[in-house]
C-alpha cells in the first residue's frame, strides 16, 4: 500500500488509512475540531492523490475500525458479497469512481457492484468527487421502497410533513399537519418529533395521525420519532405505527450513546415483522448526520464522511423505507457554513444511494451557523436534481419544537414545479381526488388547511 506522494514539488508521507481518508476530505470544521483535517489545500490534494491509487483490497485489508472491536464493522463485513468483491478488489479508488460515473454503469450495474463494496470504499469515492460528480452519480440510482405506499420512483419528489409542536399538543400538531397536506406534503411520512418520550404520548400522536389518515383515506405512513424502545412499548400496547424510527451512528460506541445496539435493532425489526400493521416490506425510518460520532467521542480518529458512510452500512442491514441525513442540525463545530453543509448534503445523499438506500435529506441549519434560507433553497434544488427520495416539510421552514430551520411546504412545492417532479403516485391521485392538485400543479384551494376540518 503506497502512502507517499509528491505534490507541487513537496513530498507527503501519510501514516495510515485514517490519515489519508481524513485529509482527503473537503474542508469541514468537524474534521478540524477532531484535529485530523488537512492543514492546507496542497496537503488535501496530496491525500486525494494517494487515495486515488489505493486498491479496494488495500482498504478492506487495513480496517480503520476492526470488526473484532466494533459491531458496525462486523455488520458491514458480513454484508459483503465476496464474489462481486473479488471481481473488483484490484481496482483503484480512481477506477471505481470512473466506473460509477461511466455510461457503462447504469442503475442495475451500480446496484450490483454496491453489494461488493464496504462503506469505507464508498466514502473513498465520495472524497474524489466534485459536487456535480456526486449529483451525476446519485441521479442514476433510483431506490423504490414500499411501506403502505411506494416512493422513490423516477420523477418523484416525496416529502415528510413534520408538524411538530413545542408541547406535543395533539390539536397543534393536527393544525400544522392540515397546513402541510393542503400544500401536497406528506407522501413519504407524517412524522412527528415528540417533546415527551413516553409510550402514552407516542400512542396519542400515532392514534391522531392514523385517524386523520383513515378519515381522509390518505395513502401514506405515520411515525413518531421517539427513542426506539419507547416506540416498541407503544406498539406492544397496540399503537398503530406504520414505521419505526431510530437515529444511527457509525460505531458501536456511538450507538451506545444513542442507547441502542444491533441486538436492540434486531429486536425492533422482529417486532415490526410480527406485530407491525403496515403493508411493508419496508418499515424502518433511520436518521443520520455527519459529526454525531465525534460529538459522542466515538469516532476513533476517523473522519466524519467515513463515519457517516458506516451509518449507511448499518442501515442497509434493515432494508429501510426511508433514510434521512439531518445534515445541518448538528451545528457549526461540525459543519461551519453553507459551503460545508451543501457539500455534506450531497455527499450523504450519494453515499446512501450507493448503499442502495432510499435517501432523503433534512436540508436544514441552526441559527449559529453561517447559513440562511437562501442556502437551503440551493441545496434543496441540487438534491432534487440529484433524485433525492424525500425532503422535510415544516411550516415556513421554522420548526417551533426543535428550534432550527428546514425546508417549507412552499419550498417543496417549488422544487416540484421548477424541476417537473411529482408527489408519490398514490399520493398524487389522492391530492387530485381531494382537489388540491391538477396535472401536477396546485389548484386554487391548495394552501387552505380548513378543507380538512
Amino acid at each position: 500500500m503506497n502512502t507517499k506522494t509528491t505534490v507541487l514539488g513537496q513530498t507527503y508521507q501519510f501514516r495510515d488509512l485514517k490519515e489519508i481518508f481524513a485529509k482527503a476530505n473537503e474542508d469541514k470544521s468537524g474534521d478540524q475540531l477532531a484535529g485530523i483535517a488537512a492543514s492546507d489545500s496542497r496537503e488535501r490534494v496530496a491525500a486525494k492523490q494517494v487515495l486515488a491509487d489505493l486498491t479496494l483490497a488495500d482498504i478492506r485489508n487495513n480496517p480503520m475500525l476492526p470488526p473484532e472491536e466494533d459491531e458496525v464493522s462486523r455488520v458491514i463485513e458480513e454484508g459483503i458479497n465476496e464474489k462481486i468483491y473479488n471481481e473488483i478488489k484490484n481496482w483503484s479508488v480512481a477506477e471505481l469512481r470512473e466506473y460509477i460515473l461511466s455510461h457503462e454503469a447504469g442503475e442495475s450495474e451500480i446496484k450490483r457492484i454496491s453489494r461488493g463494496l464496504t462503506s469505507e470504499m464508498i466514502a473513498a469515492t465520495a472524497k474524489l468527487m466534485s459536487n456535480l460528480d456526486l449529483i451525476t452519480a446519485a441521479a442514476k440510482i433510483r431506490v423504490v421502497t414500499h411501506c403502505n405506499t411506494a416512493i422513490g420512483q423516477q420523477g418523484v419528489l416525496a416529502s415528510r410533513v413534520q408538524p411538530n409542536h413545542p408541547s406535543d399538543s395533539v390539536q397543534g400538531i393536527k393544525a400544522s399537519l392540515y397546513e402541510g397536506l393542503s400544500y401536497g406534503i406528506g407522501d413519504a411520512v407524517i412524522g412527528i418529533n415528540p417533546v415527551i418520550d413516553t409510550a402514552d404520548s407516542v400512542k396519542d400522536i400515532l392514534n391522531m395521525t392514523k385517524e386523520v389518515m383513515d378519515k381522509w383515506a390518505i395513502p401514506t405512513q405515520n411515525c413518531v420519532l421517539a427513542h426506539v424502545t419507547t416506540q416498541m412499548r407503544a406498539i406492544r400496547q397496540g399503537a398503530p405505527a406504520d414505521l419505526i424510527f431510530q437515529s444511527l451512528a457509525g460505531s458501536e460506541k456511538g450507538n451506545k450513546a444513542f442507547g441502542i445496539d444491533v441486538k436492540l435493532l434486531d429486536e425492533a425489526d422482529e417486532l415490526m415483522r410480527k406485530e407491525g400493521t403496515s403493508y411493508g416490506p419496508n418499515f424502518w425510518y433511520f436518521e443520520t448526520g455527519q459529526g454525531s460520532e465525534l460529538s459522542s467521542e466515538a469516532h476513533f480518529g476517523i473522519d466524519q464522511v467515513t463515519m457517516e458512510a458506516r451509518c449507511y452500512g448499518l442501515a442497509r442491514k434493515y432494508n429501510p423505507f426511508i433514510v434521512n441525513t439531518v445534515v445541518g442540525f448538528i451545528g457549526p463545530e461540525y459543519l461551519y457554513d453553507s459551503r460545508q453543509v451543501i457539500r455534506a448534503g450531497l455527499e450523504d445523499h450519494y453515499m446512501g444511494k450507493m448503499h442502495g438506500l432510499p435517501m432523503g435529506c433534512d436540508v436544514c441549519y441552526t441559527n449559529h451557523m453561517k447559513v440562511d434560507q437562501n442556502d437551503m433553497d440551493n441545496l434543496g434544488i441540487l438534491l432534487s436534481a440529484a433524485g433525492v427520495n424525500f425532503v422535510i416539510g415544516v411550516a415556513m421552514a421554522d420548526d417551533v419544537m426543535l428550534n432550527y430551520q428546514s425546508t417549507s411546504f412552499h419550498d417543496i412545492a417549488a422544487f416540484r414545479e421548477v424541476l417537473g417532479l411529482r408527489p408519490a403516485p398514490a399520493f398524487e391521485k389522492w391530492l387530485e381526488k381531494i382537489g388540491i392538485m391538477e396535472n401536477g400543479k396546485l389548484t386554487p384551494i391548495a394552501g387552505d388547511p380548513t378543507i380538512f376540518m
Binding site: 475540531l33 418529533n193 412499548r233 460529538s295 428550534n403
Partner: protein, 306 residues
C-alpha cells in the same frame, strides 16, 4: 410483567412531563436538549428542572398573522382555531408556490435577530450595573468560538490571574455570567434574574463570592472556574442558542463542587429563561432554592432530589 412495569413507568413519566409541557417548557425535551450541543448528544444528559409558570403558553410571532392571509378559507372560524393551537407559521397563504412578501420578511426579521444575538456583544452598561468585571476564555473570536467549543471551556492565563486576584476564594455560592450563544439574552434578562437571585440567596442565609462575566464561555467553563475558586456551588447564567421565537433565552447551569471532568448529568439546568418563557424574576428566585438544596444534599444533577 416487564411490560406492565413499563406501562406504569410510562404513565407516571407521562403525567409529570405533561405537567412540564403545559408550562410551556419548550426546550426541556431530550431532542431539544441534545440540540444545544448537537443532534447526537446522548439522550440522557443534563437533569432539567422547571422553574415557574411562564407568563404565556405560546409565544406567537410578534407580527399579526391571522385569517387575513388566506383570502377565502373554507371555514373562517376553523382557521382561527388552528392558528390558536400552535405557534407554528401556518395559515400563511401563498403566491404561486412561494410565500407572501409579508411572511417571508417576518421570517427574515426573526432570523436576523437570532444571528445578531450570536454575533452581538453584551452591553458594558449592564455589566457595570452589577459591577461585573470581565474575563475571557481562549475562544479568541466568534468564528473560532463556534468552531472550537473546547476553547470556550478554558480561561486564558491572564483571566485566571485576574480571578485569583479579585475573587473571594472558596465561596459558598459563586455566580458567573456568560454571553454563550446569545449576548442579547444577558442584556434582556440579567437585570431581573440577578437581583432576585441575590434576594433569594439572602433569604436562605447563603453567602455569595465575587461575581464576574466570562466572554466566550461554554457551559463546561464552570469546571475550570471551579478548579480556580473551589466554590461549594456555582451557577452559570449563559445565553442559549437563539431560536426564531426568541433570540434572548438564557439558561442557568448549576453544579455542586464543579471541577475538571464533570459530566453533563452532574449539572442541573433551568432553561428557557426569557419574558415569554420562564419569567426571569421567578427564575432568579428558583435558582436560589435549587442552590440551597444542592448545599443541603451535597449533590447536583441527576442525584439532586428536588
Amino acid at each position: 410483567m416487564e411490560q406492565q412495569l413499563d406501562f406504569l413507568v410510562d404513565k407516571v413519566v407521562a403525567e409529570l412531563q405533561k405537567k412540564l409541557a403545559e408550562l410551556g417548557e419548550k426546550t426541556s425535551g431530550p431532542k431539544a436538549e441534545a440540540a444545544v450541543e448537537g443532534k447526537a448528544a446522548p439522550q440522557q444528559g443534563i437533569a432539567p428542572v422547571t422553574a415557574t409558570k411562564p407568563q404565556e403558553t405560546h409565544s406567537a410571532p410578534a407580527e399579526p398573522k391571522g385569517t387575513a392571509l388566506i383570502p377565502n378559507p373554507k371555514w373562517k372560524e376553523g382557521l382561527d382555531e388552528l392558528l390558536a393551537s400552535t405557534p407554528a407559521r401556518i395559515g400563511v397563504w401563498r403566491t404561486g408556490v412561494r410565500p407572501l412578501t409579508k411572511t417571508m420578511l417576518q421570517l427574515r426579521r426573526d432570523h436576523a435577530a437570532a444571528v445578531d444575538a450570536v454575533y452581538g456583544e453584551v452591553s458594558q452598561e449592564v455589566l457595570d450595573q452589577f459591577s461585573l468585571f470581565t474575563v475571557e476564555t481562549q475562544y479568541d473570536n466568534t468564528e473560532n468560538y463556534l468552531k472550537r467549543p473546547d476553547m470556550g471551556r478554558v480561561l486564558t492565563e491572564e483571566s485566571v490571574r485576574l480571578i485569583q486576584e479579585r475573587c473571594q476564594k472558596r465561596p459558598q455560592v459563586q455566580i458567573v455570567v456568560s454571553d454563550g450563544l446569545s449576548a442579547s439574552a444577558v442584556d434582556a434578562n440579567l437585570k431581573d434574574v440577578l437581583p432576585s437571585l441575590m434576594d433569594s440567596l439572602k433569604s436562605y442565609g447563603l453567602s455569595c463570592g465575587t461575581p464576574f462575566f466570562v466572554k466566550g464561555g461554554r457551559v463546561a467553563s464552570m469546571d475550570h472556574i471551579g478548579e480556580i475558586l473551589e466554590p461549594e456551588v456555582l451557577v452559570l447564567l449563559i445565553g442559549e442558542r437563539p431560536g426564531l421565537v426568541t433570540a434572548h433565552s438564557m439558561s442557568a447551569y448549576m453544579c455542586y463542587r464543579p471541577r475538571k471532568g464533570m459530566v453533563e448529568s452532574e449539572r442541573t439546568v433551568i432553561s428557557n429563561i426569557h419574558r415569554q418563557g420562564t419569567s426571569p424574576i421567578e427564575a432568579g428566585a428558583h435558582i436560589g432554592t435549587i442552590l440551597a438544596k444542592m448545599l443541603e444534599q451535597k449533590a447536583s444533577g441527576v442525584k439532586l432530589v428536588l
